[in-house]
């Protein structure tokens, strides 16, 4: 019996080695492969590189504590290079060639939309760690970032409030792709429901990688000069934020006059910018590095130590941000779900994910919704400080349930709050 097994194993390993799939089948059998699908070059690298590092750090942390079900995790890192079709190609490679149990990846919605069909076809599992526009619910995806009602809507409500400056006119500014367009559609409907007139809303888009924001800033100034308090909602993504904020500072548009609230700008994006002229501009997230609690202190320390150990560029100034925390939560929840299901089988892990909880660095025990694949998360609004960190000026009392189908888009009330075919 033993001998037959041995022969079988030898035959299989020779076959595999000959096919060039795996050179060390003995080790491969003892690890669980985890795919990491983040752009490490191109316009999105500014945001996504840190997520790769966070995922690697969390994997190292889990491995140091004995791995998952006694097996070590093995990261497979690929670089889709901010190239949306390449995301789909790399996802297919991860699922079919590397045979990963789960993938952590994507930032922009356009990249997620590009990989969705691949995960559906091959029944893979994707954890998506970034706030997004909602309007989708895939069985094969878990969304650990915010839906619009967990970020965009509270941010706009805050700016309408007395403390937020009672804004009456709105500039919706974004990069030209699906996330900003959809978010602004939802926000427009929301603003109208609050009695804001069509003439008091201005919508503007720029291409990916745009670097000349003179005209836009001049337009915002003109729009703001028409008598009513104006606020800007920015859904600019990627490295365009650096020239945008530079121009904003140089043009002398202060936060006390025209506050800018951003949904894709966190501590990491502000690292390359002189933040002194930007004090008071806002961002809405479910986590800020400046939140004080023991979990967050440990999380920040872990990442700083990791950066030093890995000799990341400018390791002494690394910061943590919301999508990094979401990646961290996602990996831990996946581990818990695998241990509950006692297998990495995708369907069983999906079932086991429902209702998972995790004590997150944002200071709350976060729960994965039983049905809709989104986390219940608390919302924070922070103002930029001179040192590039955020000062929390408003927060929800506790975690908020996600509404992936925004009630501000017609027809969404009929949609089910759980993925099809589950």
């Amino acid at each position: 019996m033993q001998r037959r097994n041995f022969i079988k194993a030898t035959a299989v390993s020779i076959a595999l080695a000959a096919a060039g799939f795996a050179t060390q089948p003995a080790i491969a059998a003892d690890t669980i492969k985890v795919g990491i699908l983040h752009s490490l070059s191109g316009t999105m690298a500014i945001s996504e590189t840190a997520l790769k590092e966070t995922a690697l750090m969390t994997i190292a942390e889990i491995n140091a504590k004995g791995g998952v079900m006694g097996k070590q995790l093995e990261a497979v890192v690929v670089d889709p290079a901010s190239n949306w079709p390449l995301f789909a190609e790399k996802a297919r490679q991860l699922l079919t060639q590397d045979k990963v149990a789960v993938v952590f990846g994507c930032w922009t919605s356009v990249s997620r939309k590009s990989v969705n069909p691949v995960f559906k076809e091959l029944n893979g599992l994707l954890f998506y760690p970034v706030q997004y526009e909602g309007e989708e619910l895939e069985k094969n995806v878990f969304y650990t970032g915010a839906a619009p009602n967990q970020q965009a809507i509270p941010a706009v409500e805050y700016l309408m409030s007395k403390d937020g400056g009672s804004a009456k006119r709105w500039v919706l500014l974004g990069t030209d792709y699906v996330y900003p367009r959809t978010t602004n559609k939802i926000l427009r409907a929301f603003l109208k429901s609050k009695g804001v007139a069509e003439a008091d809303i201005m919508e503007e888009y720029t291409p990916f990688g745009h670097s000349d924001y003179q005209t836009i800033i001049a337009k915002i100034k003109k729009f703001a000069g028409e008598g009513k308090k104006t606020a800007v909602v920015s859904t600019i993504n990627g490295d365009s934020n650096v020239p945008f904020y530079k121009e904003l500072g140089n043009a002398g548009l202060k936060a006390t006059d025209v506050p800018v609230v951003a949904f894709s700008v966190g501590e990491e994006e502000l690292r390359g910018v002189d933040t002194k002229p930007l004090v008071g501009h806002l961002a809405a997230w479910n986590y800020f590095q400046s939140i004080k609690n023991p979990e967050n202190d440990a999380f920040i320390k872990m990442y700083k130590d990791w950066a030093k150990k890995q000799k990341l560029p400018k390791a002494d100034t690394v910061v943590t941000n919301d999508p990094m925390e979401a990646t961290y939560i996602g990996l831990h929840m996946w581990k818990q779900a695998v241990e509950k299901a006692k297998t990495t089988d995708v369907d069983k892990v999906i079932a086991a994910m429902a209702g998972q909880t995790f004590k997150a660095p944002s200071g709350f025990t976060i729960k994965m919704d039983e049905k809709n694949h989104h986390l219940h998360r608390a919302v924070f609004i922070g103002e930029v400080k001179a040192d590039g960190q955020f000062n929390v000026v408003w927060k929800t009392k506790g975690p908020v349930k996600a509404q992936p189908w925004s009630p501000f888009i017609a027809g969404n009330d009929k949609k089910k709050d759980e993925p099809e075919g589950k």
Partner: protein, 501 residues
């Protein structure tokens, strides 16, 4: 509000009060609610004590700590009140710059209650610039006064304003719903027209400037190509990567200055200019000697080979500097802006770049038209065989000319590093624009490149301002395609006898 400011003014003027700061008010600065914080700020500002001013300034700078040693944080609403209170306290500052800034600050958030205080400050002010501003701000505060005569005077005084907010206020005042007196309505409307004209002018000026700025960036990006492609006929797809090398050279100099001459860090940019030029030129020589010179006259092969070279250069940058963008900071003297009118601020970095483009242009023009080297380059371009016959070393001239084009691209990279992101694939974004400029201007013409760059810059900015950045890009591209259909030789065609023609 009114009483608050009036009392504040009284205290500002009577510098006798010397009471210690109310500890309850100081403690209240750390209150949870914004309303409480604002009340405390007002209470403290009322004392007009230098101590209070210092304390509030600390709060504004974010350095004030509460009893537990935690930073006291403020939000935008508190910050606005705080800035207002600080500005009022600073109205009596001996430094004219501080006073001017204070009046500017008050202008953004003026209140009817401030009128008597502003009137006094105005009468006391000796500096004409600040006085003019105070007259305006005072008029803003009295535009809704109960006395029609005062309203009329205010409406008239505001005709000199160039502030968009004033325009909106005057418009409202000229409507019968808000103003009962016909005279005041008429004066307000006339002032409104004056302000509107001034603002329209400012807007147009602003647009022309941003067009000029974009044009000079296009010019800097394209000028090197105008030499290599325009004059030498090499379709150099690696041109964008030469820009990138210039930008990384700037980044390198910044690092060098930070490490070795931190006191002179702001001047790294000047040192970066020659370094970027020679770094890009050296790469240019390498490319020309190893690859391009074997392909002269074979356009398609050159295109493919240089495209391959561009990929190699991008990958090399990724290996050396990492795939992520690197941070190149504007020096202190290039940060901020020059305020022409309240509605237009010209960013200093862009002004410097326009000047730099001019400098590079003059440099290239002198090199090409006033030096022996330039003459040789032109001679080789016009008739290679004849130039060779009269003793011009054509092979070496090719190398030097290509190095010159590459070096100028490096200079473009220095400028780009100040306004755009510096990363391995930054050049890709400029290669299309550069070819557009050269082709539109007319191949072989420096003057053509200048007009094309400025024209494209200004046209793009004007389209952007009414149709948005995405449409502007499309419209400009379509326009160039149509233009090239009609006039394949570009704006300026070379006249004369050539070997090829």
């Amino acid at each position: 509000m009114r009483h608050f400011f009036f009392a504040l003014l009284m205290l500002c003027l009577s510098l006798a009060a010397h009471a210690a700061l109310d500890p309850a008010a100081v403690r209240q600065l750390a209150a949870e609610e914004s309303d409480d914080k604002i009340a405390a700020i007002q209470k403290l500002a009322l004392t007009a004590e230098p101590d209070a001013l210092a304390l509030l300034q600390q709060l504004a700078d974010g350095t004030l700590k509460d009893e537990n040693g935690e930073d006291i944080t403020i939000n935008n609403r508190v910050r606005r009140e705080l800035d207002g209170a600080l500005a009022v306290l600073k109205l009596i500052d001996p430094d004219t710059k501080v006073r001017y800034k204070a009046v500017k600050e008050i202008a953004t958030n003026v209140d009817a209650g401030m009128a008597p205080m502003l009137a006094r400050a105005r009468d006391r002010e000796t500096e004409p610039k600040i006085r003019a501003l105070l007259i305006e701000v005072h008029a803003l505060a009295t535009l809704k006064d109960a006395d029609p005569q005062i309203r009329l005077a205010a409406a008239k005084a505001l005709a000199t304003s160039a502030d968009p907010n004033t325009k909106a206020l005057l418009k409202a005042q000229s409507e019968p719903a808000n103003e009962t007196e016909v005279d005041v309505r008429r004066a307000a409307f006339q002032s409104y027209l004056a302000v509107k004209d001034r603002l329209t002018l400012a807007e147009t000026l602003g647009r022309i400037f941003s067009g000029l700025s974009l044009g000079s960036i296009l010019l800097l990006a394209a000028l090197g190509l105008a030499i290599t492609y325009g004059v030498m006929g090499v379709i150099n797809m690696a041109h964008g990567e030469l820009l990138m090398i210039g930008a990384y050279a700037t980044y390198g100099m910044q690092g060098l200055f930070r490490a070795h001459f931190p006191a002179h860090e702001d001047w790294y940019l000047l040192a970066a200019v020659p370094v970027a030029f020679f770094a890009a030129a050296a790469v240019g020589i390498l490319l020309e000697r190893t690859v391009i010179r074997w392909l002269y006259g074979r356009a398609l092969e050159t295109l493919l080979a240089t495209w391959g070279l561009s990929l190699m250069l991008i990958q090399a940058a990724r290996v050396i500097f990492g795939a992520q963008n690197v941070e190149v900071a504007n020096p202190e003297w290039m940060s901020g802006g020059l305020e022409i009118l309240p509605s237009i601020v010209l960013p200093l970095n862009r002004i410097v770049i326009v000047g730099f483009a001019l400098f590079v242009l003059v440099l290239v023009w002198v090199l090409m038209n006033r030096t022996r080297l330039g003459m040789f380059v032109r001679a080789v371009t016009q008739n290679r065989g004849m130039a060779g016959c009269v003793g011009v070393p054509t092979g070496r001239i090719d190398t030097v000319a290509f190095a010159l084009g590459a070096g100028i691209a490096g200079l473009g990279g220095v400028a780009l590093s100040q306004i755009a992101n510096v990363g391995p694939d930054m050049g890709q974004g400029y290669i299309v624009d550069s070819f557009m400029v050269v082709v539109l201007g007319g191949v072989g013409q420096l003057a053509g490149a200048v007009w094309a760059a400025l024209g494209l810059g200004i046209v793009t900015k004007f389209i952007e301002s009414w149709a948005g950045a995405v449409i502007a890009k499309i419209v400009v591209l379509v326009f160039i395609i149509m233009f090239i259909q009609k006039r394949p030789q570009g704006l300026f065609a070379l006249k004369g006898r050539f070997v090829e023609s």
